[in-house]
């Protein structure tokens, strides 16, 4: 728990520093103008969100194999932080998309995958809330975690194919132009700050989950 708090503080300071650097010390992008600055939040949170769900998938698989409760608690923690991060991606994306693409929403493969990631997190956590027996909840949500993690590449691929059949004529290439070094440095800095923040939040949430398990166990033995 303490490690978690320390990591959260470092992560928050890092994100603040990344933003100071992005606004004050990194050049303004020639074509997109100040709107481009949102990338320093958007891309790191998207990266961490995908990492969060990959970890849910991996830990779910390991849970079914090894049966260690801690893996389940970790998956839950990772999914809860992941839902915040996907939320952040889905909010910052349209704010950037409106001035740059000229539209709030675009059925672009990565955007759609993130949206479905959000739906999967919601389904996963709703299922957890609807179940009481810890062992059963762990097994059931592990099944959803594994299947969900496998679905994401398929979503990406099908949206990609959907779009190649109906191409959009004038859309700014989401890959963007190759970035100058200072932009990349700021992005990487922000990325590491977000990763530390993710680790801090997950560690704290994991600690809370363990405490809850302890309380439940004590409750059962007292009864």
């Amino acid at each position: 728990m303490r490690t978690g708090r320390v990591l959260i503080v470092i992560g928050l300071l890092g994100v603040t520093a990344a933003y100071v650097r992005a606004i004050a010390f990194t050049g303004v992008e020639a074509v997109q103008g100040p709107a481009q600055k949102i990338m320093y939040v958007h891309v790191p949170s998207a990266w961490c969100a995908f990492m969060a769900f990959s970890l849910v998938g991996i830990c779910s698989g390991l849970y079914l194999w090894l049966g260690d409760r801690r893996l389940d608690t970790f998956s839950e923690a990772s999914a809860e932080v992941g839902i915040v991060l996907t939320g952040l991606v889905l909010v910052t994306g349209p704010i950037w998309g409106k001035p740059i693409w000229g539209t709030w929403w675009q059925w672009e493969p990565r955007l759609t995958s993130t949206l479905f990631l959000f739906f999967l997190f919601v389904g996963y956590l709703t299922l957890r809330r609807a179940m009481f027996d810890p062992a059963e909840r762990a097994r059931y949500s592990a099944v959803v975690g594994i299947l969900g993690a496998m679905l994401v590449p398929f979503i990406h691929l099908s949206v990609y194919m959907f779009r190649t059949i109906h191409p959009r004529p004038v859309v700014l290439n989401p890959e963007g132009p190759t970035m100058p070094g200072a932009f990349v440095a700021t992005l990487l800095f922000s990325l590491s700050a977000f990763t530390v923040l993710y680790l801090g939040l997950v560690t704290t949430r994991y600690g809370l989950g363990r405490l809850r398990e302890l309380r439940e166990a004590r409750h059962v033995s007292a009864a």
């Binding site: 739906f119 299947l147 949206v159």
Partner: protein
């Protein structure tokens, strides 16, 4: 429990046969699923602006969304029905591996959903004024490829949600994301076929559907036993 492959398949066929027999004898499920599908097709026709969108343009999406919803309603019953009179306990006590239980339920659901789709297809032709001339073999193939994948995942989720609170809401929330790849593929291929384009043009989608089927049938088979690990 370890069992030989032929034994597992034989047990799976017996379970699937039992499910289909009881569905056909009772008929309520099949009739209501078919009526449900017919109603959605009718509603689709009225939920559009007839001056700007012709029925034919909406046809592939209407057909596949209808099939998806009909499948969800069918799947939501697949395990719920076993909970009545403790039938599930009897099924779990039977000396068959869990994999056979999955395969049996999966095959039963698959035949049921395909049956609903095959009744919905003529209605679709009737309501949406499309011509299936030359497109029928292709549509059959893509329907089979699309249905196998989501029924496999749906069978797992049906077992999973049967004993969870709010199960009638939980199943669609979990299952609908998994329907995006099969439905996108099926609607695209159907649209191409109805426009008279050759099936080979859609080889990419068919390949994606096939990989999806292999992935999710295998994965469902592997994770299903974990749901009854007690």
């Amino acid at each position: 429990m370890k069992a030989s492959l032929p034994g597992t398949i034989a047990a799976a066929l017996i379970i699937a046969g039992k499910d289909l027999r009881s569905e056909l004898r009772r008929r309520t499920a099949l009739v209501s699923a078919v009526v449900f599908a017919a109603l959605i097709l009718v509603i689709f026709n009225f939920a559009r602006d007839p001056t700007s969108l012709r029925a034919e343009q909406l046809a592939p999406s209407a057909f596949w969304i209808t099939c998806a919803f009909a499948a969800v309603t069918a799947l939501s019953r697949a395990f719920a029905v076993e909970l009545e009179h403790g039938a599930l306990d009897g099924l779990l006590l039977a000396p068959v591996p869990r994999e056979a239980l999955f395969l049996g339920k999966f095959l039963g659901n698959l035949v049921f959903v395909l049956l609903v789709e095959s009744v919905a297809l003529p209605l679709f032709v009737l309501f949406f004024n499309v011509s299936l001339k030359g497109a029928l073999p292709g549509i059959t193939l893509v329907a089979l490829l699309a249905t196998v994948g989501f029924v496999a995942v749906g069978t797992v989720f049906s077992a999973l949600t049967a004993r969870v609170r709010f199960n009638e809401l939980m199943l669609p929330v979990l299952l609908l994301p998994f329907m995006l790849p099969p439905l996108a593929g099926a609607a695209q291929v159907t649209a191409a076929l109805l426009n008279g384009r050759p099936l080979l043009e859609s080889a990419g989608w068919l390949r994606l559907l096939l990989v999806y089927d292999i992935t999710f049938v295998t994965l469902s088979l592997l994770v299903f036993p974990a749901l009854f690990d007690e």
